[in-house]
């Protein structure tokens, strides 16, 4: 298969690489760029949300994006959330609320939560549940996840 050349921005840094066109953004992030925060938990079917990253402002399943579709885009991953050594409020509230158990879904849930708060800084609990319904978690029952997003929203709106 002929390689294609891709240029995009990952966590604020310009990246140019060549890849077989049938590889996904998730594979590139994990295998080529060493960004293993995003996970594959459903076999690349877009059913679990564990690979959620933000592409041009929208939360997407990186397993469903062929790398060619990412050309020219700007991608944010969990590894890019820290700002000058400061954790994003969501990263902190997830730890503080006890919303992290096995942690396999956590990077995807936090990225989906960030996209939600970027769009709607003060969501209701119903909107949080709606916004995260594409992200499966098998450990927490979502109670503390919703609480963590609520806490982060309050913190961000008071900042």
């Amino acid at each position: 298969m002929k390689s294609i050349q891709i240029s995009f921005v990952v966590n604020g840094k310009a990246v140019t690489l060549s890849s077989a066109p049938n590889r996904t953004l998730l594979e590139i992030l994990r295998d080529d760029l060493g960004l293993t925060g995003a996970k594959d938990a459903c076999g690349g079917e877009g059913e679990c949300g564990a690979c959620t990253v933000i592409m041009d402002g929208a939360a997407i399943n990186a397993c469903l994006v062929f790398i060619g579709q990412a050309d020219g885009s700007s991608v944010e991953t969990i590894e890019g959330l820290e700002d000058n050594g400061n954790l994003h409020p969501l990263q902190r509230t997830f730890v503080e609320a006890g919303a992290v158990q096995c942690g396999y879904c956590t990077p995807g849930v936090i990225m989906a939560s960030k996209a939600l708060l970027d769009e709607n800084p003060n969501p209701s609990n119903v909107e949080i549940r709606e916004g995260l319904s594409g992200n499966l978690c098998r450990c927490t029952g979502y109670v503390k996840i919703v609480e963590a997003v609520r806490m982060a929203a309050e913190e961000i709106s008071h900042a």
Binding site: E47, V95, Q101, C102, G103, Y104, N135, G141
Partner: protein, 755 residues
């Protein structure tokens, strides 16, 4: 017990959570390796058959392929298994389920391995499969094993069930069934194995029992166990399903075959096929009671389907049998459980371990009885709950923790009143329901159940916990650190766990059976006391003072003269003299001799219990048959709270699994002959499916033998949810669904049949 605690019961933050929230946590599939190779597994496409030939020549020639291995290449043991060695890592002759591993293709890239796996040609001689456990034990059924398909048969009798039914005013008889369900942890099974230059093997696993993996890998390769090093990576959930060495064995075989480093990761579909799930069961119950609701007799027959391999099936059958009467005293019982092999994907350990199955049956039937007698569902339960000192049908005397049952019921009664007062949403019909639960802790009588844990005081004054059992994600490390910190009177921040490595860590035994807080906690309290004695001995030596004149207080040694010396000074001076402060302690689960009658099988009885109650409010759409769980309240006795968010997280997560069991989850055989084996067809609860209102009511009735009075919480949270939801659905629309899950189709079907 200290009235003021240092860390116990507080909302400490999990130390592993920071790495998990930044994406830095290293799960097996995230760890970087030099010269990593990839394996792809070729799996059977039939449910039952004889393997005639495997032609791997085309795959072997494919680009990037290093080697293809089959069952014939296994140098050591050809089968492994927790209780029975019946599971071949790779099929040798008989194929027993769809998706059974037949060959592993090892290649330079994942894509090359997957492409080549499709080129492996497998020739089968198909055999008629059997999918039903009752049919499987019939004499004419096709056999999976030469000895037949019956694996366990338990019968427990107490009192005289015939005279019990004779004195009953009412006898109810019904059959309940529960489906095959998957633990569905987010991280599928995976392993990386590296063959080292010195002919040793290092294996990174996501496993509940690294020390068992070590033994099973060594046996399969025919090498001494000490040549196998198993390292625990961060684990992305387990729930029982990772008490299975199969993927670690396959990775080890692949690494041995190419003398390199090989990664194997199950796809979600492979995870459904190849790893242990919760046993499906059919349970016939016959319950006799007096007019006032007092139970007088219970007869039960359960058929349990373990699938192609035993895994923990025989042990699951034991706990299922022990919990057939739930949390109730019944003077006359006759209980029978049959565990059978079928050509279904294997079932094994999964959160609840037999108890979710039996609780759906008994807790549904208790409500049915209350309805028949026109009695209140709380009152019927109150009349029949186990009391302290009761002798159960297994011979076990119930201890003080049964005091939690009346408390659970008082809370349930109060919650039900509140739930019943809530107005339903327009167009919906509301109902509320309750279920009690009894879940045992520990592996059971006469099963070796020891846990060794270690501590080390480091020269900077901090303490390392050498945890001998893996944290599955539930937060075992935090609990271990808190218990060690509390005993050593140190801040939680100064105690840190070391990752498990079978070459360095003590053998803490498998992480399972709701017993980690109890086992690990008790071992660490002991190890911490030893460490304090060592500290005083070193202080005495270094200060040249008699040891009995020194005391230890919160990170300092205090002399008779009132001088306070920081422990780090003593540890570092001892280290200069070549002396390390290290301790190890083993805790063995206590089983009183008098509660283990000779006629009971190994593993029966269990002697310590966690009790609880869950109360559900549902809204049913009477036209569509859809069920929304709008409110859940969970009452659980944990003995003593070590970490409040930790306990709450277990309850909320367990109840979520219970909601999935109640409403959605079922790994069905589809008309096309394949299994429901993906998250599109197999639905687990999302954030929208969980009740918007979740209430935790946590009781603390100390368990005398537990660390600081604590006991387990991992499994007890699952079994009551589904029957509470089923009882709430009946309360709403008068439809009794006796098989899980409670799908809209079933509700509508039962209702239209009744009309």
């Amino acid at each position: 017990m200290p009235s003021k605690t240092i860390t116990l019961g507080k909302s400490e933050l999990r130390k592993d959570a920071w790495a998990k929230a930044t994406g830095a946590a290293q799960y097996v599939a995230d760890i970087k390796h030099e010269d990593l190779r990839y394996g792809a597994v070729v799996r059977s496409t039939v449910h039952h058959g004889r393997l005639v030939a495997v032609d791997a020549s085309a795959a072997q020639e494919a680009p990037g392929v290093l080697r293809v291995i089959t069952g014939g290449d296994i140098p050591g043991e050809k089968a492994f298994g927790a209780l029975v060695h019946d599971q071949p890592p790779l099929v040798v002759d008989l194929i027993r389920h769809l998706g059974e591993p037949i060959a592993v293709v090892i290649a330079e890239t994942k894509a090359a391995a997957e492409r080549a796996a499709k080129l492996v040609e497998v020739e089968y001689e198909a055999i008629e499969p059997v999918h039903d456990p009752q049919e499987a034990v019939a004499p004419e059924a096709p056999r999976l094993y030469t000895e037949g398909n019956l694996i366990s048969h338990y019968e427990i009798k107490d009192g005289d069930v015939a005279s019990g039914f004779a004195e009953a005013d009412i006898v109810l008889e019904d059959t309940f069934s529960v489906p095959l369900v998957s633990p569905a942890y987010l991280e599928t099974e995976n392993a990386v194995a590296r063959w080292n230059a010195d002919d040793t093997l290092t294996v990174w696993v996501s496993s509940q029992h690294p020390f068992t993996d070590q033994l099973e890998i060594a046996a399969t390769l025919g090498i001494p166990a000490e040549k196998v090093q198993v390292k625990s990576a961060v684990i992305g959930g387990a729930f029982g399903g990772k008490e299975d060495a199969s993927i670690a064995i396959l990775a080890a075989l692949a690494a041995w075959a190419v003398k390199g480093t090989v990664k194997l990761v199950n796809s979600r579909q492979e995870s459904f096929w190849a790893h242990p799930k919760r046993h499906p069961a059919q349970i016939e119950l016959k319950l006799g009671a007096k007019k006032d609701g007092t139970f007088v007799a219970l007869q039960a027959k359960a058929h349990v389907d373990t699938g192609a391999f035993a895994s923990y099936g025989p042990a699951v059958g034991i706990i299922l049998t022990e919990t057939l009467a739930g949390s109730y005293r019944v003077p006359n019982v006759d209980l029978e459980t049959v565990v059978a092999y079928t050509n279904n994907p294997l079932a094994g350990a999964m959160r609840g371990f037999g108890s979710p199955q039996s609780h759906f049956a008994i807790e549904s039937m208790v409500d049915m009885l209350a309805v028949e007698l026109g009695l209140d569902t709380v009152e019927v339960r109150r009349k029949n709950i186990l009391r302290v000192g009761d002798k159960m049908f297994t011979g076990v005397i119930v201890n003080e923790t049964a005091n939690s049952l009346p408390e659970c019921l008082s809370h349930a009664e109060e919650v039900l009143k509140r739930f019943e007062a809530i107005e339903p949403t327009a167009g919906k019909v509301a109902g509320s329901g309750l279920a009690l639960v009894m879940q045992s802790m520990g592996l059971g009588a006469k099963v070796p159940d020891d846990s060794t844990q270690g501590l080390e005081w480091l020269p900077d004054g901090s303490v390392a916990v050498h945890l001998g059992s893996p944290d599955l994600g539930q937060g075992l490390t935090m609990i271990a650190e808190q218990i060690a910190a509390e005993t050593l009177e140190l801040p939680y921040e100064q105690v840190k766990s070391i990752d498990l490595d079978t070459w360095r860590s003590p053998n803490g035994n498998v992480t399972c059976a709701s017993r980690m807080t109890y086992m690990v906690g008790n071992a660490l309290v002991d190890a911490a006391e030893q460490l304090k004695s060592q500290m005083l001995a070193q202080a005495a030596r270094l200060l040249n003072q008699p040891q009995d004149r020194l005391t230890y207080q919160g990170g300092e040694v205090v002399t008779a003269g009132g001088e306070r010396i920081a422990v780090k000074e003593i540890v570092s001076r001892a280290a200069d003299d070549g002396i390390a402060l290290q301790s190890e302690a083993t805790f063995s689960f206590p089983y009183p001799e008098e509660t283990t009658p000779q006629h009971l099988p190994i593993g029966m009885p269990h002697v310590l219990f966690c009790f609880g109650a869950q109360i559900a409010r549902v809204e049913v759409d009477p036209e569509l048959g859809t069920v929304d769980v709008t409110h859940l309240a969970a009452v659980h006795d944990v003995g003593r709270v070590i970490s409040r968010p930790g306990v709450e997280g277990q309850i909320e997560g367990g109840a979520a699994m219970g909601v999935g069991y109640a409403l959605f989850e079922s790994m069905d055989l589809k008309p096309d002959g394949g299994w429901v084996d993906n998250f599109t067809e197999y639905l687990i609860p999302t954030s929208k499916d969980m009740p918007p209102s979740f209430e935790n009511i946590i009781l603390e009735i100390p368990e005398e033998s537990g660390p600081f009075g604590a006991k387990g919480i991992g499994e007890v949270t699952v079994p009551p949810t589904a029957p509470a939801v089923a009882n709430a659905v009946y309360d709403a629309i008068g439809v009794r669904v006796k098989s899980l899950p409670l799908t809209p189709e079933k509700l509508i079907h039962i209702r239209s049949n009744a009309e």
